[in-house]
Symmetry: C2
Subunit: 305 residues, 2 copies
């Protein structure tokens, strides 16, 4: 087994991404700072400015991703003035204009969402995982995320936990047992586009934004061993740590020194941080390979007055 490399870069990804080679990474998995958060680093991007802030970054991501690679973006819009803000859906439209294909939207169901009560809404317990690609044909290793059938049935009962069982009468009674019977004899089941994971509220000094199971699932699904994984908003390094554990090479960029330090201490294999040894470009993408918006949409957005 080849030894994998984990490169950690301290710096602003708007600059550092420029140092990466074209068509060099297989998966980009990242959770950028949400609007209004991390005000001391990326400037606490205002919701109204979020799209324009992100587009220069995503165009670099488009450049460094291999043609058959995948970009997974974990994001959720805030509530602003009583409404869900529209910056995420506007971002999807603009990313498509950049040349990205919006292949799929996965749902991360956060089973332990932040508590609280308000007069006009319930707790927000899900986030988007937007899948973008350069081409319609991309690498996907579906069998790697299949759930063993034995576990699967158990998990359906156990993983959704006692709470959900109580809350869902339909599960208890009629159909469920019968349906399990249908699956007897099959080894594994394919998952769906809904992921049920709890956030890890560890006693660690740093709390990860997402649980390790989240990047793990996408790394297994979209890369094989010795592939390259990039997280331009590394934070404390969850994505990189998982990549390394799964024998994938990793590149992480983080602007905040304290997060960068945490990642450095936590991640075992570290190559020289700067200048990074860049992964070799595999097949330089031809401009023609990029599938741009070839069809004019009949729907034209109204111009804001």
């Amino acid at each position: 087994m080849e030894k994998v490399i984990s490169k950690l870069i301290l710096g602003d990804c708007r600059e550092q991404l420029k140092n990466l080679a074209d068509n060099s990474v297989d998966l980009i998995f990242t959770s950028p700072p949400y609007a209004d958060s991390r005000s001391n680093t990326y400037g606490g991007v205002k919701p109204d400015d979020y799209v324009n802030w992100f587009l220069p970054i995503s165009v670099e991501l488009l450049r460094v991703l291999k043609p058959d690679g995948t970009f997974v973006l974990n994001i959720k819009e805030k509530v602003v003035d009583g409404e869900r803000h529209t910056y995420v859906i506007e971002l999807i439209l603009e990313l498509r204009r950049q040349g990205w294909l919006w292949t799929e939207e996965f749902i991360w169901h956060k089973k332990n969402s932040y508590p609280g009560k308000w007069p006009n809404r319930f707790r927000d317990s899900w986030e988007r995982l937007l899948q973008f690609n350069k081409l319609r044909s991309f690498n996907m290793y579906q069998q790697e995320v299949m759930v063993p059938m034995g576990d699967w049935a158990e998990r359906r009962l156990k993983n959704l936990s006692e709470t959900d069982k109580v809350r869902d009468p339909s599960r208890v009674g009629s159909g469920f047992g019968k349906r399990i019977a249908n699956w007897i004899g099959r080894d594994k089941a394919y998952p769906s586009n809904v992921l049920h994971l709890a956030t890890e509220t560890k006693n660690r000094s740093h709390s990860a934004v997402f649980p390790e199971a989240l990047p793990e699932w996408f790394i297994k699904l979209f890369t094989k061993e010795n592939d390259w994984v990039l997280d331009p908003f590394m934070g404390s390094g969850t994505t990189l740590r998982v990549a390394q554990r799964l024998n994938r090479n990793g590149i992480g960029i983080e602007i905040l020194p304290e997060y960068y330090q945490i990642a450095r201490e936590d991640i075992m294999v570290i190559e020289e941080p700067l200048p990074p040894q860049l992964p070799q470009s595999v097949e330089p993408v031809q401009p023609a390979q990029l599938v741009l918006l070839e069809k004019k949409k009949k729907y034209e957005p109204t111009k804001p007055e």
Copy 2:
């Protein structure tokens, strides 16, 4: 208890909605035909035309909804040419331009979706439930949809009076007493914005698009007894049937005679179908009451070339 009315109207909602009074219904819950489907009725709306097809309908919905009412739209984008189509998110942006507030997006997790597989994607097991309102303050009866709590709470409540009091003397004075009061007798928790409902595999002749539990949840949440519920794309009448069972008045519009007939046979109380006795307008909405998009967004969408 007043007797509730269920009005079923055979016709095209683009025309029939015009017969309804301003500000007359408390909840609109509907699942419009998805793009490309029902080609024999609403003309098999092409994905690219979907937004323009829907906007004249939604402007009527905006008119007939009471100021403190809610519009819940069950929808999910199709995969077109390997991508998730953008008509749903474009529709959200355009509805806001019409004056709707995009208050929330609920996720319906369709739990019992069978394991399935395509080369480039997994089974789609969720749909959007988009909540729109006319005003930031609307009717919401949260206690009506509370769910049983997890085991944790039971244990906590048992030991609450003794253990917790001793633990934190600092709070005894102001906050703590009140906190306990909030929890005493509580065996239920507020739900979140993720709904776990199995699709019903009915033995009925007609297959409902959604399970009864789905409209039931929103009808309980956003209306009280004797309120008015509207479904402009009634189909076989699931929303209307649930409304009636919960003692809400209902108005359903369906273009297809066979669906209309199924609904008629299934729903017990039926008033004369045409012309409908319209619910009286309660408080005519003043244009000024409508909270329009008061802030100019700094982000300006790029014009399609």
